[in-house]
Symmetry: D2
Subunit: 388 residues, 4 copies
């Protein structure tokens, strides 16, 4: 039997990277609703992220998005972050909001557009040098809407060429993670639609290239924890983009739509060494708080990951292995579910207090007055948002 | 055997309503790309729509969206349309772009918000009075993103109350059509997610309320032509929003993703009397030309509907009925496919010419210089787009 | 705050109907694996069901399937059941295993086949008279595999006629429940594919006809609890077929694939009065224990329903309503999740003991030696199974 | 412009492997309907397959399934086939119908079960030696139904070990093709669920291992032609299992559900060299004629592949490339659709006659009296079917 004490060392290691853009406005194609207190600068986003970490101890790193978080002095931004108790993490590139990229970026038929997209990534690597970031994350909006619109095969070849040039610029301690996505914003085909494509592409690059798994980027019915297990087995799982969804890429709070799925994913992460000391797997959030408040939305998100991680860690793997080996389907499932059904919330509250954190970070946030404060202070200027 | 001559009278009746917003910019949550020549006013949208009708003879009516097409004088707008050879059609309401509607409109917990949304629809009915429109089309973005966020049952009751008040204001010759949608922009639940809900709601209102079927608003694997058949059988199919999709509500050109599905839909429309003289079924487009040119995108769309309608009309229903009655599965399918596989394009080209229309409207548009003309003329001002 | 004591009266009312066929062999089209101890007669199935009830107190009624459970003397079978501490429940008809039904039953083009199918249902009503059953459950395999194979509209009309004749034979205290199913065994279209169709059909019959909702019979992404809420609102939810699935109609143990979904469904059942005294809603299981032992598979199933019902009953609806009314999305969701995350298993163990039941029915079953006993005794003869 | 004459050489090369089991009875888990004339022996299945080839010239090779087609003397069976004008092709293994395989075969926790499954494959290789078959096709039913039931990661490792042993026994001219499947008969996870897994596994084996793509084995919305393009690019597409589906693995006649999808797949096959002289890609059918007659069902299937191949070959790739390079979305799509919409049936009828084949093979089959003949002759004995 695993006890809560047994799992504390791993819980202590749990660190979730939060994305700067989660604090800005987001929405659907129909409407982006704005909210009082929304950050207007990268610094304000980092301040919000730091609040999440202050309350939870779970979010020590902030991922940036270029050009959304462009500043003149990244070393200065890093100091700002450090002063607020957090660090800068993954650099996310963006080749989907410039008119040139309407029909593609790294895969475009026009060499000049590919050049522009490659150069953008080279600049991102320069940012990484300044921020000390390890990972360059590439998510491509590339794809087509209509059959015949593009030559899917040639696009794949061009993708390899473009990635190879970017890869060649990575420093020794830097990595590339390539995200795949089933659909959207392209509807007929996307150029990196599945883990197999991302895996084939990064394998052709080398040891510093990995797959990024966004939990919302799969077809309905896909067994995501299987992909987690497979990529860990192949040594190519670089990072997660956590969120949840009911149907498409809804980008809801991780664990909100199907907490049991999040549990199963964490079980495989642990099984494959993804929470071991020195694990190469980065856990990130990638969500859109379209209608809920953003800072507590992020607090809720990292708590959800922590809670499901704790349950997954409590899984009695010895007993499970015995039931599996003996072919006892019902016993194996019961042992598995027992971990999921165990209410870890009281133990986690105590654990937090023992670390000088609030027992209930959501309540602590509500009490803190932070939301009212930022709503009062952040008036005027341009609220941050997708594309802003 | 049905010949092309036999189907000409029905083809002559075919009229497709085009939406004013199809001519404006649209996009995804990631980016709305702008295009030279995009209309800046309702009049420019109507001019574009009139061009589609001029080239195809298929699009005599333009649907408006309030408030996107708000003008001071709707009677004047109607004359403008008539002068351009088209008429004004369905009035589409909009309760998804005002901050008040963030958590709902006709279903909102707050009576003041419901009042605002109801009043908006009453104003739409006044517009209908001025434009002579028959149909008020209601698509609601109402729904929730998180389990527990709303009381789905109470929202359904409030929806009925709100609709009943709107319905009571309809004139004798006016109708309400209630659209359903599986998901988006709400992700956990939508308040009118399926035809059953729309049917239950409009049935509770009365004879002037109908269902609107948007072909992109279903779960994967849904047999849409079955729903068409069922709603026609129940006397409650009011209108179509045509488009196509590969996965979600992609709003691609109708027939682009699965032409055989469009064929099957038209077969059921015809089977159920939907193209008969005096049919209550309005055929509309509802698409987003995110990356392709908008006017020829609409031309292609109405041509696709015409082509699949022609194939569906050519179906040898006598032979089909015999094969069905005898249980000859392969023969019945072969007769069905024979209609689909018949290349009606040459006959339709001749048909168009006999009506004084260009044989190839796409080529005629390219030759017309219209695209270059509007790109040159429509400079400055605010391009129309979703929300603009 | 709701306490466990508050919910005990409702828990006491909870009764789940178990299907006789769950105790027989089942499988996929690829293979039906047989198991030692599988029943060979309706009596042995009832004995197994009685064991489930003995251990859980949750399964006092056994649903029968005709002709699989055909006996000469149904009154005698009822006495047998009563002697074992259970009662006979819903009668399930079967029009999918006779060669005549290859292309349909109640919807068939051939009047003779429809006659045969109608007569089968009339015989089922006679069985109901003898067993004292209230409900006749109709699930139809009717549908087509290829476009054009059948006239969907005419089949719908014939379905109405057939159902109307059957309905006319129902006694005053008897009901018909019509199940819908998205696909399988027909692949192109099924004649009752969705709740809307079932609702339209039963509404055309009268007050004694209801919809049966099988939780595995929906398209991916369908919000099932919404349908529950809607059907309860419309007064037409007659019964549930509980099971769970990852992708298709997997017929796995209820709650196994997505326990949170089962929780949400129970929340809406309670919200709509489905567990009130005198509720018209029958809760049934419909599962296939393809690889796990069948009796403990059923024990696990009824326990899962009980556990999720307990959590759903603990939902603090007052607090939830306040959060919903104030538009506090995160608070409402947290209140909702708090009920789900509450580990009711210790309280339920105590509750069971207070009723003279084993605290852990799964362990009690394992200890009972029942599985070894039936494996030893039930040798020879024809094991029960789908179609046997 | 490509003319029909241009494509004749490729059409002449088109050869589709038909599966012996398509001529036997098949069905769903609910019912297997039997048909007069169904073969009772491997020889009768081959005779039926030969009839398909006689009428179409498209089906010169018959795939066998072991143990369903077990005979004492495979060399003799090969002569029988040759005498009937066809050859023997791919050998399909079967590790899903023995009681030992209930919880897995090549992935089973029990080494004795893995041994049995490996040995079965070694025997299949012996059959290949006798029949002169090139390909060993492995489709595994391995997987689990319940979370926790198995250790997915360890199963993947065991799969590799088992495959490696089988692979080591392949002759120089022999190949292994590993099929993947999204779900069924396992519902929670399958051990080879997607092309990525199959690709990773066969890549770890060597140059004689390839992926088999069954068109029905994907999640809804999956862009299958993209996978075709990718696997051809990676040099790992070994063979197709053609069929069609609306929702799950329906195994309907190829092209029946979505002819446009089949067209798009053939476009990518051609684009990637899959129909070139010496191509490593085997085109096979894998279907279940549950309700339609089997021999004409197979005739229809190979004709569908031929028709869509002809349309795909007619695609004006030069014009398409220009439109793609210029970013003209609508023009590219129109060129693409023009090929699809071209009615090749008259030209194909002439082509057939020029090869001494019936212009209309379906009609020729109906006239041939073959169906009545086999119905009269094949009386008594055990009809072939899945598992028979």
């Amino acid at each position: 039997m695993t006890t809560f004490d047994d799992i504390v060392p791993t819980l202590d290691r749990l660190a979730i990277e939060v994305p700067s853009w989660a604090y800005g406005n987001s929405g659907t194609r129909f409407r982006v609703f704005s909210t009082p207190g929304t950050p207007r600068t990268p610094q304000e986003k980092i301040a919000d992220a730091a609040k999440v970490h202050e309350l939870t101890g779970l979010a020590p790193v902030v991922a940036l998005h270029i050009p959304w978080d462009t500043v003149d002095d990244y070393a200065e931004l890093r100091r700002f972050a450090n002063d607020h108790g957090v660090d800068l993490g993954t650099i996310n590139s963006n080749t989907f909001q410039d008119d040139a990229y309407k029909l593609g970026s790294l895969t475009h038929t026009d060499a000049a557009v590919r050049r522009q997209a490659i150069d953008h990534h080279l600049r991102c690597i320069e940012v990484m040098d300044a921020t000390g970031s390890r990972d360059l994350k590439i998510w491509l909006a590339d794809g087509t809407n209509y059959p015949g619109q593009g030559d899917m095969r040639a696009r794949q070849d061009r993708l390899h060429e473009s990635l190879a040039e970017i890869y060649a610029h990575l420093g020794d301690a830097q990595r590339m993670v390539l995200e795949y996505k089933f659909f959207e914003p392209a509807f007929y085909h996307t150029d990196v639609p599945d883990w197999g494509t991302s895996y084939a592409q990064v394998s052709a690059l080398g040891d510093k290239a990995f797959v990024c798994l966004d939990t919302g980027h799969h077809a309905p019915g896909t067994n995501i924890e299987f992909i987690v297990a497979q990529l860990l087995r192949l040594g190519k799982l670089g990072s997660f983009d956590f969120n949840s969804r009911f149907y498409a890429d809804d980008d809801l709070i991780v664990g909100a739509a199907d907490p049991f799925q999040l549990f199963r994913i964490m079980v495989e992460v642990i099984r494959g060494g993804g929470l071991d000391e020195g694990s190469p797997v980065a856990l990130m959030l990638d969500q859109c708080h379209n209608i809920e408040d953003k800072v507590p939305g992020q607090v809720r998100s990292v708590l959800n990951v922590q809670e499901m991680t704790a349950r997954a860690l409590l899984l009695d793997r010895d007993a499970l292995g015995k039931a599996q080996d003996s072919g006892d389907v019902l016993a194996a499932n019961e042992i598995f579910m027992d971990a999921f059904y165990t209410d870890v919330r009281p133990a986690l509250a105590g654990y937090r207090e023992s670390r000088g954190l609030p027992a209930d970070p959501m309540a602590a946030y509500a009490r803190s007055g932070y939301q009212a404060q930022i709503a009062a202070e952040r008036v005027g200027g341009q609220q941050a948002g997708w594309g802003a």
